[in-house]
C-alpha cells in the first residue's frame, strides 16, 4: 500500500470492487493492491477461547469449515447464501465487511457473534468491536489508504449456545436482501435466554445490532407473547425505509417479526441441541 502509485484500493476477491469501478460507483484507481495471496489473512484458527477468521478467507472456505459450522453456524449460513460457487471461491469475508453495506450477509452474521475486528497498518494493529468500524453506507471509520482489515475474532461456541441467519430476497432486481437477520442465543438451565444478540439489515445507514431488543429478551423464556413483544421493541429501534424498486418500508416492517421469530426459534433449538 505504501508503494502504490497514485490512487489505489485494496483488492481481495474483487467481486464488488471491480464492478464498482467499472460501473462508476467507485472512483477510478491507478493501482489495485492485491492482498489475496497473503497466507496469514487466509486462515481459520482457534486460539484459547476465540476463533480467529482471516479477512482474506473466502466464502467457500467459510462454508466448508467444520470449525465454523460448530462455532459460527450463522456465519456459515450467511456466507452460503452469497452468490454462486464461482463468486464464493474468490469473494472474501474481509471484503464483505469492508464494503460496509448495511445488509452484507457476512457482516450481519458476524455481528450476531459480537465479533471484533483487527485493523492493521504500518504503525501496528488494534482490535475494535466490529460495529464500531462502520460510518455509513459504504463508509468505514478506519483509513482505507493506511489501514487494512486483517482478522476477525469471536468466542468459541459454548454449551447451550446457538446461532442462525436468515434473509428475505426479492425475486426481481439486485441480489441484496430486503431484510436479513442473524441471531445468537445462550440458554440458562431453565431454558431462559441467558444472553441473546440480534443483528439485521438494512435497518439504518450502518449494519444494525438490536441492543434494546436484546435487553428485553434477556432472562425471558420464548413464547408467542414474548416474541410479539420483542418484535415490537425491535420495530421501534430499527430505522427501516423504502428503497425504490426493492422494498417498501411497510413490507420491511412486516418482515421483522417473521424473521425474528424464525431466527430466535431456530437459534434456541440449536442451543438446546448443543448440550454436551
Amino acid at each position: 500500500m505504501r508503494q502504490a502509485r497514485g490512487a489505489f484500493a485494496v483488492l481481495a476477491g474483487g467481486t464488488d470492487l471491480l464492478l464498482d469501478i467499472q460501473q462508476g460507483r467507485h472512483p477510478v484507481v491507478d493501482t489495485l493492491v492485491d492482498v489475496s495471496n497473503i497466507p496469514e489473512l487466509s486462515t481459520i484458527e482457534v486460539y484459547q477461547d476465540h476463533i480467529y477468521l482471516g479477512a482474506g478467507v473466502t466464502h467457500k472456505q467459510i462454508i466448508s469449515s467444520q470449525l465454523l459450522l460448530e462455532n459460527a453456524q450463522c456465519v456459515v449460513e450467511g456466507c452460503g447464501l452469497i452468490g454462486g460457487p464461482q463468486v464464493r471461491n474468490v469473494a472474501t469475508i474481509g471484503g464483505n465487511v469492508s464494503h460496509a453495506l448495511p445488509a452484507g450477509d457476512g457482516t450481519i452474521s458476524l455481528l450476531a457473534l459480537d465479533t471484533q475486528v483487527e485493523i492493521a497498518s504500518i504503525g501496528g494493529r488494534r482490535w475494535e468491536p466490529l460495529l464500531e468500524i462502520f460510518a455509513g453506507p459504504g463508509k468505514v471509520t478506519f483509513d482505507r489508504q493506511q489501514e487494512l482489515v486483517t482478522r476477525f475474532r469471536f468466542n468459541k461456541r459454548l454449551e447451550r449456545e446457538g446461532s442462525t441467519f436468515h434473509r428475505v430476497m426479492r425475486p426481481q432486481g439486485v441480489a441484496i436482501a430486503i431484510l436479513n437477520m442473524s441471531g445468537w442465543v445462550k440458554l440458562d438451565d431453565s431454558e431462559h435466554l441467558a444472553d441473546v444478540r440480534i443483528a439485521c439489515g438494512p435497518a439504518g445507514p450502518k449494519p444494525f445490532r438490536g441492543f434494546e431488543t436484546e435487553s428485553f429478551l434477556r432472562g425471558k423464556c420464548l413464547d408467542e407473547t414474548i416474541l410479539m413483544e420483542a418484535a415490537r421493541v425491535l420495530d421501534a429501534e430499527v430505522n427501516l425505509r423504502t428503497s425504490k424498486h426493492r422494498a417498501t418500508k411497510d413490507y420491511r416492517h412486516s418482515l421483522l417479526p417473521v424473521l425474528l421469530k424464525q431466527v430466535l426459534l431456530l437459534a434456541v433449538s440449536r442451543a438446546k441441541e448443543n448440550r454436551e
Binding site: L18, P85, V90
Partner: protein
C-alpha cells in the same frame, strides 16, 4: 506489460498482459481459447466460468494476473484423448445444450461440482448452478445430464438418450436424435460472432443519446478524430444511402444527425473505429454533442391524449387495429353477467446470453461481408445495402451460431454501423455490445395494458367479449404493428365468442423500441383473458377447467376473426390431458382449493389453470414463403441450405431430420447450411413459430423432389417404374439390387443433371384483418396447470410443479420439443415472478443484468410435465405446426390464478410483487 505464467489445460503458457486484463480476455484473445464465452461481464451469469486450481471462478472479472502460477482449465481442456468428458456426452444426449452460449459455463461449473461431490443430489446441483444462467431454460435437462454423467463416472452406467411418450411415427421424424451442432457446443469449438477476428481488425463503438427525447443542436467529432489509434469517426452525414431502417416501417435512423431528433436513450449519434476497445471508448468521450431537450412521453395511454409530446411528426399512433364480429351490444344484452377488468404487463427483456455482435469487412472484390447472429439475414442484407447505397447482392450476411434470440435479433443492431466503419477504414471492424449497451438499445417486449369485458350466460357460455389494448411500441415501429396485431386477435382467447369488439392502439413513446419477443403480443393477450376467465368462472360458480372446456375452440368453430377452423384444433385434448394429470397428482382432491403444507403453517399450495393458442407463421395477409436448396454432394452427403436461423431452438436438427427422412439417408450423411445470403436461399424471418412449418416444408419438398429425380434417373437406367425404387440408409433399392447414392449422383451428373433442387414453398394464403378469409393457416394450442406455494408471511411465491400439454400437430424432434416446452415454461415463470424491465421517464433503470433477473435453476420446478398433443395440420410437414412461442404463454396467468386459489388475492399487474402481496395478505388477515 506484465508477464503471466500459468498452466492452461495442462500446457505451460507465458503471455504478456496489460495491467487490469481479465482472465477471460487473456484466454479468448491472447490464447485463442474462444470456448470461454462472455455474456454479462458483471459476475451475474456464470457463462464465463473456468476452473482455477480446480475451483470455478468467473473469468470475466478475475484479474488474469491472479492466475499466475496456477492451473486453469477451460471447456477446451475437458475432453481427453479425443473422448468427450462424461458431462459433455451427457449434455449432448440429454438435450442440455440449446443455443449453446452458456453451455461451457454450465459444464465447467458442473465439472467443479463433480470433483467436490462425485454423486451430487438435486439439492447439490441446484446449489452449485444457482448463479449459472441459461436463458433457453435448459435447467431440467442440465440436471439430468449432470446426474447421468455422475452415474457414468461412479458406476460406469452408459449415458442414454431420454425417452418420451411422444416419440415415433416415422423412420427419422419423431425419433430422439442428437442435435448436430451439440458436440461443438459442449467442447468449446462452436463459433459465435465474437469468436471471429482478423489480424488487422478494428473495434467499433457507438455513442448513445443518453436522453430520451431531444434535438441534436451541435455535434463535434474533431477531438475524437485526432486521438491516436482512432481510424474513423462517422455521423449521420456519412451515411451514403437510406438513413432509416426498420423491418416494416423505415422510421429508425441508423445515426441521428444535427437538426434531427433522438427519440430514446439508445439512439446512436456517432460511431468510432479504433485499434482497441479502450481507445474507441476514449474517443466516444471526446465527441461533443448538445441537445435541445424535448418533453418526454412514456406511457402509451398518455401518448394517445391530445397535446401529448409527439415522438414522430405524424403523431404517436402507430396503428389502431380493430376486430368486429357479430353485434357487441346485442352480445352484452344477451348476457346474464358482465365482467370487466384491466391487466397490465411491463416491458420485458430478451436477455439472450450472447450480446449483439457484428463483424464486417470489405472483400477483395469490394463487397461487404458481415457476420452477425441474426434472425433475418436477408433483411439485414437489404437494410445494410440500403444504408450504404449498395445493391443487396453487394452485401453478404452470414450467421455463425447465435446465442439465443427469442425475437430480439430481428432488428438492426450494429450491422449497419460495422459495415459503414469497415468501408470507411478498409479494415475489418467488430462491434460487440456490452450487456449494458444491449439492455439499452435493442427492442423489448411491448408493455401492454389490456381491458377485458366479458358477457356471460349463467351457464357459462360467452355471449360477448370486448377488449381494449394499449401497447407501448417505444420510439420506433420495429414490428410493433404486427406484434400488436397478434395481441389484438388473441385477446379474446381460444374461445367461441359470437360477438366481439377489439380496439388496439400501438403507441409510440420515448421508451426503447418494442418489437418481436417469443409470444409476439399473443402472450400479453393470453395473460389478460386467462386471468379474466378464472375471475368469470368464480363469479359463475363454475369449475375453471369445465368453464374453459365449454367455450373452447374446436373443429368447425369460428374464431373471433371469422375464421372457420376445419382441422388441427387440439385444445380440448390439451385441456383433458392436463386436467387428468393434475387430478392424478392431487389424488382426486380439488386442485384449485388452497392446501396447507405439512409442518409449515405459513405456507399454502394451490394449482392454477390457463390455456393458450398461437398462430404459426406470419399470417394476416403477409406473404409467407421460404426457399430451400437440397444438393447431393460427392460422397453421398446431402446438404440442405436455407437462410433461416438456428438460435437455439433446434432448426438444424429439424431440417437434418426432414432431409434424412425424405432422401432415405442416414442422419450423419445430411448436412445443413443456414444463414448465408451468398450460399443459402431466403428462408424468411425466424419469427412467429414458423420455421419448422415453412422452412421445414421448403426443405421437405426440395428433398422429396430430389429423391424423385434420383428415382427417375434410376428408373430409366434399370427400366423400372420410379415408384418401385426405395431409398434406405443411403442406398437405392432397385428390384433386388442396392445402388449406393454416390453412384446415383454420378449417374445424374453423367446425364448432365445437377443433383440439386431449389424449392420455393409458399404457405397457404392468409388475409389481412378487415378482409374476408383466413387470418392464419394454422394455430397451436396449449393447456397449462401450475402448482405454486405461497408464503403467507413474506409473500414469496415458488412454482412447485407444472403440467403443460401442447398441440403441435406432430412432434418432429422430441428432444427439441421437450426443450422448447421446458424452456418456455421457465421463461413464463420468469415473466411472472422475476423479470421486469424498468424505465423511468425514458431512462432505463434495469441497465445491468444484476437488475434484470432472468429465472435461474432456483426458480425451476423439479417437475415440468410435458405432454404432446398431435392433431395434425394437413399442409404442415408430417402434420407439424409451431411450438417455439406457445409454451411460455399460459404460464404467467396459470401462476396468477394459482395464487388467487391459494389466498384469494387477485394480481392484475405483472410481475408479481411479493411486497404488495404480503401487505395485501396482512390486510386480509385483519
Amino acid at each position: 506489460m506484465t508477464k503471466l505464467t500459468f498452466i492452461v489445460n495442462g500446457e505451460h503458457k507465458q503471455v504478456e498482459i496489460e495491467p487490469g486484463e481479465m482472465l477471460a480476455e487473456v484466454l479468448r484473445k491472447r490464447l485463442g481459447l474462444t470456448g470461454t464465452k462472455i455474456s454479462c461481464d458483471e459476475l451475474e451469469c456464470g457463462v464465463c466460468t473456468v476452473l482455477v486450481d480446480d475451483l470455478p471462478v468467473l473469468s470475466c472479472n478475475y484479474p488474469a494476473i491472479k492466475a499466475n502460477g496456477k492451473h486453469v482449465t477451460t471447456i477446451e481442456g475437458l475432453a481427453s484423448d479425443g473422448n468427450l468428458h462424461p458431462l459433455q456426452e451427457a449434455f449432448v444426449k440429454k438435450g442440455a445444450t440449446q443455443c449453446g452460449f452458456c453451455t461451457p459455463g454450465q459444464i465447467m461449473t458442473a465439472a467443479a461440482l463433480l470433483k467436490e461431490h462425485p454423486d451430487p443430489t438435486i439439492d447439490d446441483i441446484e446449489y452449485a448452478l444457482n448463479d449459472t444462467l441459461c436463458r433457453c431454460g435448459a435447467y431440467p435437462a442440465i440436471v439430468d445430464a449432470i446426474r447421468a454423467a455422475s452415474d457414468k463416472i461412479n458406476h460406469g452406467t452408459p449415458i442414454e438418450y431420454p425417452q418420451y411418450e411422444f416419440e415415433g411415427g416415422h423412420k427419422v421424424i419423431g425419433q430422439v436424435v442428437k442435435r448436430p451442432e451439440a458436440v461443438d457446443k459442449v467442447t468449446g469449438a462452436a463459433i459465435y460472432t465474437d469468436d471471429i477476428s482478423f489480424p488487422d481488425m478494428l473495434i467499433g463503438a457507438t455513442l448513445r443519446a443518453g436522453i430520451p427525447h431531444g434535438r441534436v443542436t451541435r455535434l463535434d467529432t474533431t477531438a475524437a478524430e485526432k486521438l491516436p489509434g482512432v481510424h474513423a469517426v462517422l455521423t449521420a452525414a456519412d451515411i451514403p444511402g437510406r438513413v432509416n431502417h426498420g423491418l416494416v416501417i423505415q422510421d429508425w435512423p441508423a445515426l441521428v444527425g444535427v437538426g434531427e431528433k433522438v427519440r430514446y436513450v439508445g439512439d446512436a449519434i456517432a460511431i468510432v473505429a479504433a485499434d482497441t476497445e479502450d481507445i474507441a471508448r476514449q474517443a466516444l468521450d471526446l465527441i461533443e454533442v448538445e441537445f435541445e431537450q424535448l418533453p418526454v412521453v412514456t406511457d402509451p395511454v398518455e401518448a394517445k391524449l391530445d397535446g401529448a409530446p409527439l415522438v414522430h411528426q405524424e403523431g404517436n399512433l402507430l396503428k389502431h387495429i380493430k376486430v368486429d364480429k357479430g353485434d357487441i351490444a346485442a352480445g352484452f344484452e344477451q348476457a346474464d353477467v358482465i365482467m370487466e377488468d384491466i391487466y397490465t404487463m411491463p416491458t420485458y427483456e430478451h436477455a439472450f446470453m450472447e450480446p449483439e455482435c457484428s463483424v464486417a469487412r470489405v472483400t477483395e472484390d469490394g463487397r461487404i461481408e458481415l457476420w452477425v447472429g441474426s434472425q433475418i439475414p436477408y433483411a439485414d442484407r437489404e437494410q445494410v445495402a440500403a444504408a450504404l447505397d449498395l445493391q443487396p447482392q453487394e452485401v453478404r450476411v452470414r450467421s455463425p451460431l447465435t446465442g439465443g434470440g427469442f425475437g430480439g435479433k430481428e432488428d438492426i443492431a450494429g450491422q449497419i454501423h460495422a459495415a459503414m466503419l469497415a468501408r470507411s477504414t478498409g479494415r475489418p471492424v467488430k462491434i460487440l455490445y456490452s450487456r449494458h449497451e444491449s439492455l439499452l438499445v435493442h427492442p423489448k417486449r411491448h408493455a401492454t395494458r389490456i381491458k377485458v369485458t366479458l358477457g356471460l350466460k349463467k351457464d357459462g357460455r360467452l355471449t360477448a367479449a370486448q377488449t381494449e389494448l394499449f401497447g407501448d411500441t417505444g420510439a420506433y415501429a420495429s414490428l410493433g404493428t404486427k406484434v400488436m396485431g397478434r395481441a389484438t386477435t388473441h385477446s379474446t382467447g381460444p374461445y367461441i365468442v359470437p360477438n366481439v369488439k377489439i380496439d388496439c392502439y400501438a403507441m409510440y413513446t420515448n421508451n426503447p423500441p418494442a418489437g418481436a419477443f417469443r409470444g409476439f403480443g399473443a402472450l400479453q393477450a393470453c395473460h389478460a383473458i386467462e386471468c379474466m376467465m378464472d375471475q368469470a368462472a368464480e363469479r359463475l360458480g363454475l369449475d375453471p377447467v369445465e368453464f374453459r372446456r365449454m367455450n373452447a375452440l374446436r373443429e368447425n368453430s369460428i374464431t373471433n376473426t371469422g375464421q372457420h377452423l376445419t382441422e388441427s384444433v387440439g385444445l380440448l385434448e390439451c385441456i383433458d390431458r392436463v386436467e387428468a394429470e393434475m387430478l392424478q397428482s392431487t389424488n382426486g382432491a380439488a386442485p384449485f382449493a388452497a392446501r396447507e403444507v405439512k409442518g409449515q403453517p405459513n405456507k399454502r399450495r394451490a394449482w392454477g389453470f390457463a390455456v393458450a393458442f398461437k398462430n404459426t407463421g406470419l399470417g394476416e395477409g403477409a406473404p409467407d414463403k421460404a426457399t430451400a436448396e437440397v444438393e447431393l454432394l460427392d460422397g453421398g452427403i446431402a446438404e440442405a441450405r436455407i437462410s433461416s436461423a438456428e438460435i437455439g431452438q433446434g432448426l438444424v436438427t429439424v431440417l437434418q431430420m426432414i432431409t434424412s427422412q425424405e432422401l432415405g439417408l442416414p442422419l450423419d450423411q445430411v448436412r445443413v447450411l443456414l444463414s448465408d445470403t451468398d450460399l443459402t436461399p431466403d428462408g424468411g424471418p425466424t419469427t412467429g413459430s414458423r420455421q419448422t412449418y415453412i422452412s421445414g416444408n421448403a426443405v421437405r419438398h426440395a428433398a422429396n423432389s430430389l429423391r424423385e429425380q434420383m428415382a427417375a434417373t434410376l428408373a430409366e437406367k434399370f427400366d423400372v417404374p420410379p415408384d418401385e425404387i426405395k431409398f434406405i440408409e443411403g442406398l437405392a433399392q432397385v428390384r433386388e439390387e442396392m445402388v449406393p447414392v454416390t453412384d446415383v449422383v454420378a449417374l445424374m451428373k453423367q446425364e448432365g443433371k445437377e443433383p440439386k433442387v431449389v424449392y420455393e414453398y409458399w404457405a397457404p394464403k392468409t388475409f389481412p384483418l378487415g378482409e374476408e378469409g383466413d387470418k392464419h393457416f394454422a394455430y397451436s394450442f396449449a393447456a397449462q396447470a401450475t402448482e405454486i406455494e405461497l408464503d403467507l408471511d413474506t409473500g414469496e411465491v415458488a412454482v412447485i410443479r407444472t403440467i403443460g400439454a401442447t398441440d403441435v400437430g406432430k412432434v418432429i424432434n422430441p428432444l427439441g420439443f421437450q426443450g422448447q416446452v421446458e424452456g418456455g415454461t421457465i421463461m413464463g415463470i420468469g415473466h411472472a415472478l422475476t423479470e421486469e424491465f424498468i424505465i423511468e421517464d425514458g431512462i432505463i433503470f434495469t441497465d445491468y443484468l444484476a437488475r434484470y433477473r432472468m429465472p435461474s435453476i432456483h426458480h425451476t420446478p423439479r417437475e415440468i410435465k410435458v405432454i404432446a398433443v398431435e392433431h395434425p395440420t394437413s399442409e404442415g410437414p408430417y402434420g407439424g405446426k409451431g411450438v417455439g412461442e406457445i409454451s411460455t404463454m399460459p404460464v404467467p396467468p396459470s401462476i396468477v390464478n394459482a395464487i388467487y386459489n391459494a389466498c384469494g388475492i387477485r394480481i392484475k399487474t405483472l410481475p408479481i410483487d411479493q411486497d404488495w402481496l404480503a401487505l395485501e395478505l396482512r390486510k386480509k388477515a385483519k
